[in-house]
Amino acid sequence: MSFFIQLIVSGILSGAIYSLMALAVVIIYKSSSIFNFAHGSMVAFTAFLLWSLIVQLNVPLLISLPMFLVCLFGIGFLIQRLILQPLTGQPLMATIMATIALGDLFAGVVTLFWPGTGRTLPPVIPSHTIRLGRAVLSSESLVNFFICGICLLAFSLFFRKTKMGLAMRGTAEDHTLAQSEGIRVSWIFVVSWVVGILLAAVGGTLMSSLYGVNFVSLHGLGMKSLAVIILGGLESIPGAIIAGLIIGVGESIGAGYLDPFVGGGFSEVTPFLILLTVLILKPYGLFGYERIERV
């Protein structure tokens, strides 16, 4: 029984990170209706960038964090201006391929500049083990959990209550319409991409504190969050939260109980099995908006 509780607790903790990653993609989708397939590579790239700044070049935190933010902003701006703006009005396939190609681009940069494994970020949180009832957690996981929770709450409120949030939702529905109302659509795209990249960076950093900075795990994390988003519904922040937890727990339980049968590695495939089942049963996810089509 305590094994089960342990699985659930660790599932919830990792689920929180999945939710945060999912949030990054949801925000980009909510504003620009583009699904960011490059998410996995961006998570990895930002983590490596931060590693370079802090560890490799040894720039003190006070300077490296602002520099990092400026870099992220620049990247988001460039992506929006150079790639997405020329692609307005193109069919779905073009935007999907563009983000996929972008993902490959980032993956290539990471493979080129940071080959090999074994990098870690310096620990910021003192490492303890905490007992919560019958379960054992590490302090890093718990802190991660809270950070994720705060981010998720903040963005939820942002989209519901503020004018900018409303404008982002409107732009996602119909760019042309938003433009004709005076909303600076390209600016909204830039903002949403920058926020998306920022969240990817946060997730990558949090993940790195647990597993070290290496491409495969970060990229895999990013791709799993795609499953989370589909489960939760593409436009829904609460959906992302709940779906992240479901997949986190599902993966954990699946690994815990089924791994001995299949020789390990089941956790890699659980998110996708869950994804396929959901797609067949409820295509728009748990909380996604049904496509309103008037024929």
Binding site: M97, I100, D104, L105, T111, L112, P115, L273
Partner: protein
Amino acid sequence: MLKKPCGTFDETYEKDTALVRTPFRWVMLLLLLGGIFFLFPLIANNYFLDVANNLGIMIIAVIGLQILVGFCGQISLGHAAFMGVGAYISAMISFHFGWSFWIAMPCAAFFSGLLGVVVGLPALKIRGFYIAVSTLAAHYIILWVILHGGKLTQGTSGLPAHEIQIGNFTFNNEIRMFYLIMIFVIAVIFLVNNMMRTKTGRAFLAVRDSDLAAEFMGVNVFRTKVLAFSMASVCAGISGSLMAHYQGIVTVEHFTLSDSIWMLGMLIIGGPTITGAILGTIFLKILSQVVLFMAPWIGGIFTAFSGSSVAGFTQIFFGIVILLFLVFEPRGLAHRWQIFLTTFRLWPFKTPL
């Protein structure tokens, strides 16, 4: 397919839907075939023959993907996994049962097609982008099954497959495989082109352009989509099978997500036609060869990062090229080729872009 040369008028239905429209085109086609079959093997050394063989194998798979993506408008991120399925089934049959290629390949193609039907089933309820994600999920699941298949698939260590034989004649060097592969390629091109001018082909195009409208016109959209998935997988299966017996050994590394993406990239660069699929594949193959040639230089520049620098550089190059094509020429190389031909045809008038 529907483009008519200036001044040609078809008087019968057969002429209108003919695959080769004018006598001039027949001549060009025969010249091209002659060039491929007689000229190329004479002038090319083994290295280039090997490249051409791999190119041919890839073309078959990409044409399959083109049916699904370019003609039917669905997006599939799992095509490499289907190639893998074809390769592994074929290799497993030849390794565990010892049967010949000529039995293994149809089995592989059939099984791939069946799997394609399964993956296409979600198309009943979901469309567009969600199909793309479900193919991504299918890709991961298929690869995981292959990796964890234990003795059957020999997981990470690779599964050997024996060479292709007809009677006593073994296809055991590049030239012989070249002819075999080219025959397959020509056959696939012909069959697909032929299919596209039938009712099924037109149904694909209708579903691509507007599946709601197609449904109202009586096209069974679900069946059409599933058919497209299965055809694409059959082509992928054939291609994978050929690859297995050509390389002699199958491993999962050939069928990663990257490969699926490369194939999609070939379609983007080439454009939504069969010609486009071929041009796109050739273009990207040339690109990767160019990067290989430049490898020493790249290693020189990035001396601190050797080893994976070629892989990394290829990826960056690929990403940039795809993005450039998406932004500047979304209709692909096939369109550029059309403009090229049209300029001559319409000279001295201006060619509309």
